[in-house]
Symmetry: C2
Subunit: 222 residues, 2 copies
């Protein structure tokens, strides 16, 4: 796949985030490209979940990945190594992608032939929740080692997510994580959020999430 491309994007100067997000969303809808804004704490398993998800999707689905980070290119390299088209977006120190940054990245990346575009946002449970990017859906990953109390502390993230993946369930015995409490706290933030328990490393529970995703994609591009 050659070298990783790096794009440096800058935050929108004007307070027009929602209108730029709407433009991004319409552009993607017109192109029939479904975009996921994938968010989580650092180290929750975004890249691993993404790679396993791609593995389970049909081989003829055209997929692209935008890796947003403050620095480094290791995530885009990993995705590239798996044979998936990807670019690295550097956020110029910003703690999340906003709609204008996403617009710049979409322009560079050329998304028109893609069925699915995944934007892996900066690892952070606060800032990415505050700015709509224009994605078709928002997905958050919460990993078992982080604890079941995170929806209480970062409620906005769970409010704006259509789906929450509870990852690293293979490590349950090491951590005090109350599954029912976690689900209850997520549903308190957003009663309509779908919750799946997964282990991206082993693939456990990934089938149900991928099935749900494919249904959302089918509805969206209908």
């Amino acid at each position: 796949m050659g070298e990783v491309r790096v794009i440096n994007v800058n935050m929108g100067i004007f307070e027009k985030n929602d209108s730029v997000a709407a433009v991004n969303r319409e552009k993607l809808r017109a192109e029939k490209t479904f975009m996921i804004n994938l968010m989580a704490s650092p180290g929750a398993g975004k890249t691993t979940t993404l790679l396993k998800t791609i593995e389970l999707l049909p081989k003829d689905m055209k997929i692209g990945v935008m890796e947003a980070d403050i620095d480094a290119t290791i995530d885009a390299e990993k995705i590239n190594a798996a044979g998936v088209r990807s670019i690295q977006v550097h956020t110029n120190g910003n703690c999340a992608m906003d709609a204008e940054m996403t617009r710049q990245a979409l322009e560079e990346f050329e998304t028109s032939d893609l069925d699915l575009l995944v934007m892996e946002n900066v690892g952070n449970l606060v800032c990415p929740a505050e700015t709509d990017t224009g994605s078709s859906i928002n997905v958050a990953i919460l990993s078992i080692p982080e604890g079941d109390d995170k929806p209480l502390k970062y409620p906005l993230m769970f409010q704006i997510c259509h789906c929450v993946l509870i990852n690293k369930i293979d490590t349950r015995e090491y951590f005090d994580f109350d599954d029912a409490a976690a689900v209850e706290r997520i549903k308190f933030c957003n009663p309509e959020a779908e919750v799946f328990f997964i282990c991206a490393k082993t693939g456990e529970g990934m089938g149900a999430w991928v099935e749900w995703l494919r249904q959302r994609m089918a509805e969206w591009t209908r």
Copy 2:
């Protein structure tokens, strides 16, 4: 210890963060109160590390804890339950404490009789690194489940930290975490950073960190 006190603080309007931080630092130095700005991703184990650290410090040391979160009071409740004076600071949606927010919290908390004040910052590897609070030292926790690549992705956090605690070493067998690579990457960001491997849950490795902390406290209040 009674009910948890909650303080709502607002971000500084003026771009004077560094000068407000300097005022905070001088005030604390005059009071001989040593302040730690404790930072980490959500779920890295800040509260557990703090509780274990307090347990290992001399019983006659006067300690206070400020728990900064966007929402909830569970951390301050945990600290309170352990018999340690604590308050919950709500950041009004902000992703980190800045110097002005810290000044407001210090004013409310009355720190003059404290030997040690720990501010547990919002769980985030980006924003808290950007604003000096006036703390005596900055300490970051990186947990094994997050991965050894975090210093590459969030370099500023590791640049500004005097000490990095690599936590949850009891879970090593579950995660691919390269100790030497992590230390090398931290030292690349900041050659003078001290690194300790700990398990706050079991207490493993905590002695060396607490010893180092006591030395810093002794030097600072000399």
